[in-house]
Subunit: 207 residues, 2 copies
């Protein structure tokens, strides 16, 4: 069984909704999840797509819809006071942790998304983000923050962005399940049906 | 009880999915549906938004996702051989019928969407669209087609487009339930929960 690929941006509220559900859903069907943080704005720029919140009508709707979607899923949600937030720092910290321990990196990502979208914490605040990363890693926050600015973390994140562009990850959250793409937290019921064998794989050769 | 407003474009495959479910869902909770065909490209142009299929990555995904979403909902679906189709003709025919009989117009719309997305019929084929409209109206197809080109039908459609712009209908399908907006066929579970009282109305004043 290959892992389920879960692509997300740390600034994506729907990414938080997916993050709260995808591990348990996969585990219930004997699958693991590979957490793949990206910088969505960089992926969209390379794909030639506009930012999702560029228009007021879409932004107004998103703010209403994400709060409603969280209630529908039974999840706590609080609209961040600053939104959207550009998120290279937590994404780089993720890669610093992932180089040692993938499970610690995923736990950090889960905690960071909760901090952003449940507790209104700013993930671009280095003191906060560094301390949070240190909770899941043996190293000191100052060292982790230093490594987050180093070439290794930058290269790992750039590589993830490049792979997302190749795989046409045009939004967050985005899931690949045995190669099949699912865009949006609202695809959770289809992902569940697919894992449970109640929904056949999409045939890419269908007309 | 005010009717549920159901906005759609006759060229929208997700509009077809919503059309197959919304009447029964509303009726189960004592509500009626007001069918509101629009020309999505005209609404988006006025809102300053790009067409949803302008990018290959999004289009590739849509073709896969709509077929999968139909299977997930238990609906027959066949990808139209010409896609997308610009749809002023069925939208104008709808308004010709609606001026006499709203229920006949809705029945025509339902049949037209099935013809397009289940039976691969071209709704911009005047002979086909006129004959289909005549099935739900006492008048001859030739007369209905003539009236579809007249000022009254054009004005009624333009008025629907203007109202859609005012209400920020930035996609198809789009539902207003007591003023609350729901975008996409994937919001059917939330619409159902909202109608059943399991989901509270979204508070537009939430942060």
């Amino acid at each position: 069984m290959t892992p389920v690929d879960f692509w997300f941006d740390f600034g994506s509220p729907y990414g938080y909704l997916m993050a709260e559900r995808i591990d348990a859903l996969a585990a219930a069907h004997g699958r693991t999840v590979r957490w793949r943080p990206i910088l969505l704005f960089a992926v969209l720029r390379q794909l030639g797509l506009p930012a999702p919140l560029a228009h007021a009508a879409r932004r107004d709707y998103l703010l209403l819809d994400v709060e409603r979607s969280a209630r529908h899923l039974g999840l706590a949600y609080r609209q961040p006071s600053r939104f959207p937030v550009v998120t290279p720092l937590p994404a780089r910290l993720f890669h610093v942790l992932a180089a040692h321990n993938g499970a610690a990196a995923a736990a950090f990502a889960r905690a960071a998304l909760r901090a952003a979208f449940r507790d209104d914490q700013a993930l671009d605040d280095a003191a906060f983000a560094g301390a949070l990363a240190a909770r899941f890693d043996g190293r000191e926050a100052a060292l982790l923050l230093q490594q987050a600015q180093a070439d290794g973390a930058r290269a790992a994140l750039a590589q993830a962005v490049d792979e997302a562009v190749r795989r046409q990850v045009f939004g967050s959250p985005f899931v690949h399940l045995d190669g099949e793409p699912f865009f949006g937290a609202d695809r959770l019921p289809q992902i569940e049906a697919r894992l449970a064998g109640r929904l056949a794989p999409a045939d890419k050769d269908r007309p």
